[in-house]
Symmetry: D5
Subunit: 92 residues, 10 copies
């Protein structure tokens, strides 16, 4: 089941640089692992923003919730979730 998720990251400019680096590295590893597993289907940067647009393909709402809460950057993010359905004009 597909969900569009927009994540906007708010890191304080005076955040401890080591914390910052390790959190971002953990986020990257986690994002790549979920992409390899097929649950994080698309991941795009919104140009010029500390924000991404993603599409998730998960079993249900509970799994979506679990996946997003486990993001290392979750405590620093504003997140919006839009459930997606098949469009009658889509060819796939």
């Amino acid at each position: 089941m597909l969900f569009a998720v927009q994540m906007t990251v708010n890191l304080a400019p005076d955040m401890d640089p080591a914390d910052r680096a390790s959190t971002i590295a953990a986020e990257k590893q986690y994002a790549q692992q979920l992409q390899h597993a097929g649950e994080w289907l698309h991941l795009w940067r919104c140009a010029g923003q500390y924000s991404n647009l993603s599409v998730f393909d998960v079993a249900d709402n509970d799994r979506l919730n679990e996946v997003l809460w486990a993001l290392p950057l979750f405590p620093y993010m504003d997140i919006t979730v839009t459930p997606l359905a098949r469009h009658p004009s889509a060819i796939h």
Copy 2:
């Protein structure tokens, strides 16, 4: 070059049914033609809304503008456009 586009359709409930049907049919044909051509990469229905989330893959801003203005439903739509860039954590 990728752009996320959200289109929300506002059709008056008292619109002439024949106009309505022919405009929606033309929109479907146009959307499928652009999908086959590879410029309309993704087309999802936002569940429970007369709204879609799309991703376009076009040569440049001028082509994006041309493609969206030619939508048969364009006069009835609210449209937002977000230019997308490669995300440093994306695996593709």
Copy 3:
């Protein structure tokens, strides 16, 4: 799978009274049928508003989309959809 849905109805004051009555009657019948079927779990009036807060229990996003688009009042509604997950403090 649960979804919170808020529906706000906008009927033009000068809508044809017969159309209005038959659309509202059809909406009521449809709402009660889905409640009996177990997919429309809760239906509350937001006090003093032409608006309701509902909870749906459906198989997936596609079914939610199908159910909402079939509402007789759908062309007159503003709808927001919030996917719900199990809360760690819920006792049920």
Copy 4:
């Protein structure tokens, strides 16, 4: 009398971990006690958000106010309250 309440929690990422843990534990205990007592009727997680949608069944506005102000996470929450009434199409 029913009220829909949406609570969004804002905890600073650098909050003292012990304070954080004890506040969240107290919140859980309080939420479960009120659910057992029948005043906190529904408690759902908004998927992917540090936010819940709840329905309370309380005697009156004063009791609702008392219950919400006593939430251990109250100082960290944005709260919206919607009084609910019986919907003419509800079957219960």
Copy 5:
């Protein structure tokens, strides 16, 4: 039980003058009857706006809903409802 209610009236400038006059007259009669009955406790004009701020004293949410839906101007109004509780610093 007290509720603050803000009502903003939107009448089309080209509304039929007789309809307009009779609807406004019915609204006035209804408002005065509810004031005499003690349920419409306060009624103030927001200066320079076609809007009022009111306080209702009703038995419960269902009665509030019933009273507001019966307003002759209800189909032309935007309404917001705020449940009120006793303030710890109030002297009455």
Copy 6:
């Protein structure tokens, strides 16, 4: 002359407890004194919010400004002011 005033209080969760207690106590004393003097006509808690809805009866705009700036919690408040006039349907 009447004014509706909505005050929303934002106290940092880590505010010094003694400062907090003394500021809130001073606010209560001030609010009660103005109520006894007849200038703070109504004071209601917005249920479940750190917010109140008040009605002031003051000589003019300058007095309203003076009264609100002197609130002990003024530096922590978001305030909106709505001048009220007599409503043509009010019976008082």
Copy 7:
């Protein structure tokens, strides 16, 4: 007593031209009469908008309400009202 008032005019493009002309002429006459009387202290056009920023000097809220409701363009306007007080740094 001073009030800042912003008025934004919304005239339908297909409004009857004679009605339009006579309403605008009546508005101009009314505005000039109130300026000569000293109650409409300032009247500025917001550049490039069908909107003005005005300052009124009236006896009280009831008079402000009366003056604004009598505007010939009142049914076509969105109006915001801000009560003004003496500023401690003002030299007049």
Copy 8:
């Protein structure tokens, strides 16, 4: 003196086609004349929107107001105006 102006055009889908065509043609002629005269410095289409971003170079606020009110599409536009100043890092 420079001003950034964003113009968003709202034409009813059922506008008379001849009116529509002649208004758009007049707008184009007017826009080109002002560009040749040097007052309409930049004119860009916001991609995928019936909206433009423009920069005007005019003598003062009164001239800006005059130029914008004379737009053939003015009655159909939402307009925002931002006065521009020299930026300390600009090289021109």
Copy 9:
């Protein structure tokens, strides 16, 4: 050339009292000097808010920018700027 400027001041409640006092004193002196010079034409307090509505009469946009950036409270302010033009119904 006239500009309406609304300034809203946000001072942290825990700002150093001496800094606070000296900044406010500098602001007052600066505001009075510009009023005497004729560039700060009007200065009103928005009643009950830490906000003012001002009208400036300056040579051009660059001068307006220079004047506002030099405000001692500028780093603590939210500012909106509206260029004003002569209103066709103004008598002055």
Copy 10:
């Protein structure tokens, strides 16, 4: 390819003055270098705001993203991006 970019800078009033000065100096150098290179086409100050309106001329979305993320003030900015296309009435 052109993009309109609005950047609003939020620097904490209590930021370390040396950090502040060096960040602003680096921003200026970077902005001027990109202007000389032809990618930062226009740079205007929004009068009276810590905000600029810029137009970039870059190869594609990825380059736009790269350029904006490298801004020394990027961690302190709110940024909006609008892709621009050729306007049919533009003479250039």
